[in-house]
């Protein structure tokens, strides 16, 4: 049980994919303008990341390793992620057209979110058990959701702050992201796996 808790803390805080590994920066900056959109995006990414790490573990263990096809790893994982993203795009279009409109191009672009592929690849490299890798994928997604929601909250408030004209918009967002990253560096060494 402690081990699972450690995996979650490690994936969410210590090895946060956005702020520590710098993967998935595109949606981090792209969809963080509004809090609602960020929350919707977080749920979509959580769904895709968790299922992608589950499916990639299964594919790795039952197809790639027995058939000795490890060189096909990337293409298999991309296939999994692309199908999952297609699936969730259809689902969101049906269930929440407003969210669909708000996410716009960033929804199909989850396919190219390197954090998703990164989680799948790093996950199988660590050669953990099934539950650990599912949990690791979920934790990584939770970490992504956490920083995305925090960052969009910050950005919504920065919009009302007296920012110098030259720093308005993207520059101050990037500076904020850098500061958040520095803050997350403080977690390093909290958990050793």
């Amino acid at each position: 049980m402690t081990e699972f808790a450690l995996i979650l803390v490690s994936a969410v805080l210590v090895n946060n994919y956005v702020l520590t590994k710098f993967l998935g920066i595109c949606p981090f900056l792209g969809v963080s303008g509004k809090l609602e959109t960020a929350i919707g995006m977080s749920f979509a990414v959580m769904f895709v990341m968790t299922l992608a790490s589950t499916a990639s573990w299964l594919v790795q263990t039952y197809i790639l390793v027995p058939l000795d096809l490890l060189y096909l790893q990337t293409i298999f994982f991309i296939l999994i992620i692309a199908s999952l993203v297609q699936f969730i795009e259809m689902m969101i279009h049906k269930t929440s057209p407003v969210l669909y409109q708000a996410l716009g191009i960033f929804l199909p672009l989850i396919t190219t979110n390197c954090a998703v592929l990164g989680v799948a690849l790093l996950n199988v490299q660590q050669e953990q058990g099934f539950i650990s890798s599912v949990l690791y994928g979920f934790g990584a997604a939770l970490g992504f959701a956490l920083v995305l929601v925090l960052f969009s909250g910050l950005r919504e408030r920065i919009d009302y702050a007296p920012v110098p004209a030259v720093f308005k918009g993207s520059p101050v967002a990037l500076i904020t992201a850098g500061m958040m990253s520095l803050a997350f560096m403080g977690f390093s060494g909290l958990v050793k796996l």
Partner: protein, 194 residues
């Protein structure tokens, strides 16, 4: 050779399974029409007045959803509806058109009214009261200024007047504090939307 066959067949089989699952999902999650149109249509006042330049609320909703029309053409809906649609579409709110800046109101010259009830039938918001052979009058608070009643009147006794400030919406001027200003803004928004 076996390596090659294993690689091709496993990847092919996997892609096939993924494709079949997606095909089933496509059937299950098919979207009837554009749900955005329904959402916008629900926000519109359903007066079917045609002041937006489209033949009704639904066609205007379709035009907005497809990005063909701006969000600020609904006159009866006023600023509140415009803000809601802009929020739904995720676009910048635009100021309303000129007509909305000076809200109009239908007024029946009761001396000339012959009690034909034609304007009552034409009114989309039931803002005209009256009975056959009795003169009619307009409920000022409900009239949206859509002008639909002007055309059917056989004796041309309906005028479009500038909407006066209703006594219900009048308030004492407030002291100039932040809280008072906010209240004033909220009231003026309500008056604009009514």
């Amino acid at each position: 050779m076996t390596q090659f066959v294993a690689a091709v067949s496993s990847l092919g089989a996997f892609a096939l399974v993924a494709g079949i699952i997606l095909a089933i999902a496509q059937k299950a999650f098919r979207v009837e029409g554009d749900p955005m149109v329904e959402k916008i249509d629900a926000l519109l006042p359903q007066t079917q007045c045609g002041q937006c330049g489209y033949p009704g609320c639904k066609p205007y909703a379709e035009a907005v959803a497809s990005g063909e029309a701006d969000v600020n053409h609904c006159v009866p809906g006023g600023e509140r509806t415009m803000l809601q649609i802009a929020d739904l579409m995720g676009v910048e709110p635009k100021s309303l058109e000129e007509e909305a800046a000076a809200p109009m109101l239908a007024f029946i010259r009761e001396d000339e009214c012959i009690g034909c009830t034609l304007c009552i039938k034409a009114c989309p918001v039931d803002a005209i009261v009256g009975a056959p052979k009795q003169y009619h009058t307009v409920i000022a608070d409900h009239c949206t200024g859509c002008t639909l009643c002007v055309e059917p009147c056989p004796v041309d006794c309906i005028d479009m007047l500038l909407k006066p400030e209703l006594i219900e919406h009048w308030a004492w001027p407030l002291p100039d504090t932040t809280r008072a200003r906010l209240g004033q803004e909220r009231r003026s928004q309500h008056a604009g939307a009514a």
